[in-house]
Amino acid sequence: MNPSTVKLKVSVAPHIRSVDNISRIMYSVIAALMLPLVGAIYFYGWCALWLTLSGIVGAVLAELIVNLIQRKFTITDGSAIITGMLVAFNVPPGAPWWLPFAGSIFAILVAKAPFGGLGYNILNPALAGRAFLMASWPNFMTKGWLAPIRPAGSTVSGVATITTATPLGVAKLQPKLASMLNTPAALKAMFIGNVGGVVGETSALLILVAALPLMFKKYIDWRIPVFYIGTVFALTGILYELGVTPLSPFAHVLAGGLFLGAFFMATDMVTSPVTRKGKIIFAIGCGIITVAIRIWGGYPEGVSYSILLMNIVTPLIDRKVRPRRFGT
């Protein structure tokens, strides 16, 4: 072999590089989130698309403002688009168009940029945006549930049209009707997503399908959703047997935003612990707080606040379960 054609590159470590980078991961997540979005358009009509677009435009505009101030270019990494989509997934489908817009702006300008931008934020920006919307416009955030436009013979939408429209809202406000949610037909409707809820949360099936390739690529760690949902299932199972909650553990797992939160928000790389052990502690903590809010709290659903609270203790978890340094 002619020595001049042999390409030997002399360089410092690292020698093995992964093809993954921030924008690749972010755009994969965006592609995955398209599936719940299509589901939301199918169940609730075009308003789901307009709300999502409004959230994305708000987040990207806010990111643009931050970029202009910092003279840094991060807008194409895709993280702002995810934040915008997730904020929009967290508002009821009947909400006014500017609601996800305002939430996304808060998410980027208050929860993300002042802490140093992507990689430094303490709280999940999308959930901080949701908490801001809940505090600012509780009326729009707790009303405006649309019954799915495709009933397909579900018993839940029958219950839903009475007053409150989400399964967990029924469980909280009309516990007598809640046993209807434990029937196989209702569970099937909740699994497919044929119930009332915020834009992106209702279909456990679509979220699961969307998350599987990401878990396979290790963009999201399987431990967080498995331990999170497992904790909720186990705790609500015990409490259901004790008669504390009218909903069966299956209904508790499938109702509300647990799947969306467990797969797409608790797994945010920035705001969840780094180590495997830390992730398990984080997920179990999320599960316990979710169940506590659902059963004893004032709100029907506790997924978003549980993840925000565990986001805050993430640095402490990371400090506690720090792995042994190699060689010591």
Partner: protein
């Protein structure tokens, strides 16, 4: 002489630079009226207690100075409390417990300990006025942000249109909005340096 006043407003602004007296600033800055009432109350107590403590300065034994300062301060707070109750009952009701709590306000005890007990009466009065105005401006700034965004009003008048006033950003009326507003003001203060 002027320096004593300007220091209290800008260089040593009690809220935005020294970061003391944050409790009433966060709690009662919901409306412009409340903020003005609180600011004037603190301004009065601060000036009078600074003057009195400066006059008593030669007679106060070192070891029991704090109880004596507190008694002086609480005297003026009681006067303020009764006067406000009599002449501005609405604001007095809104401020509630935060008027009596001026007794333990860090700004007043801090100025007594750090300034009035070491200076002659005239600088002490000027320092009290300066710090009092500094506090009033800070809490007023908070109140303008919070009332404008949290209810679309300013001093009770709708300014951002009736449509906004019907669905304001409630967040700013709530405690987290106060923390955000004070963070923004402190950030702006540090930007100026």
């Amino acid at each position: 002489m002027k320096k004593y006043i300007w220091d209290g407003i800008f260089k040593n602004n009690p809220v935005l630079v020294l970061m003391i007296g944050l409790c009433p600033t966060v709690a009662v800055s919901t409306t412009v009226q409340n903020a003005l009432g609180m600011g004037v109350a603190v301004l009065f107590v601060l000036t009078m207690s600074n003057l009195t403590i400066s006059l008593l300065r030669p007679m106060v034994p070192e070891s029991i100075r704090i109880p004596i300062f507190i008694i002086v301060i609480s005297t003026f707070v009681t006067i303020t409390d009764y006067v406000m109750h009599a002449y501005a009952p609405a604001i007095h009701k809104n401020l509630g417990i935060f008027v009596p709590l001026i007794v333990v306000n860090c700004i007043i005890l801090g100025r007594a300990e750090a300034f009035a007990s070491k200076h002659t009466p005239l600088p002490a009065i000027l320092d009290g006025i300066g710090s009092g105005i500094g506090f009033t401006l800070a809490i007023l700034g908070m109140a303008i942000i919070r009332e404008l965004l949290g209810s679309g009003k300013l001093a009770g008048h709708i300014v951002l249109g009736t449509k906004f006033a019907a669905t304001p950003i409630l967040f700013f009326s709530l405690p987290p909005g106060a923390f955000l507003a004070i963070a923004v003001l402190i950030a702006l203060t540090r930007l100026r340096k």
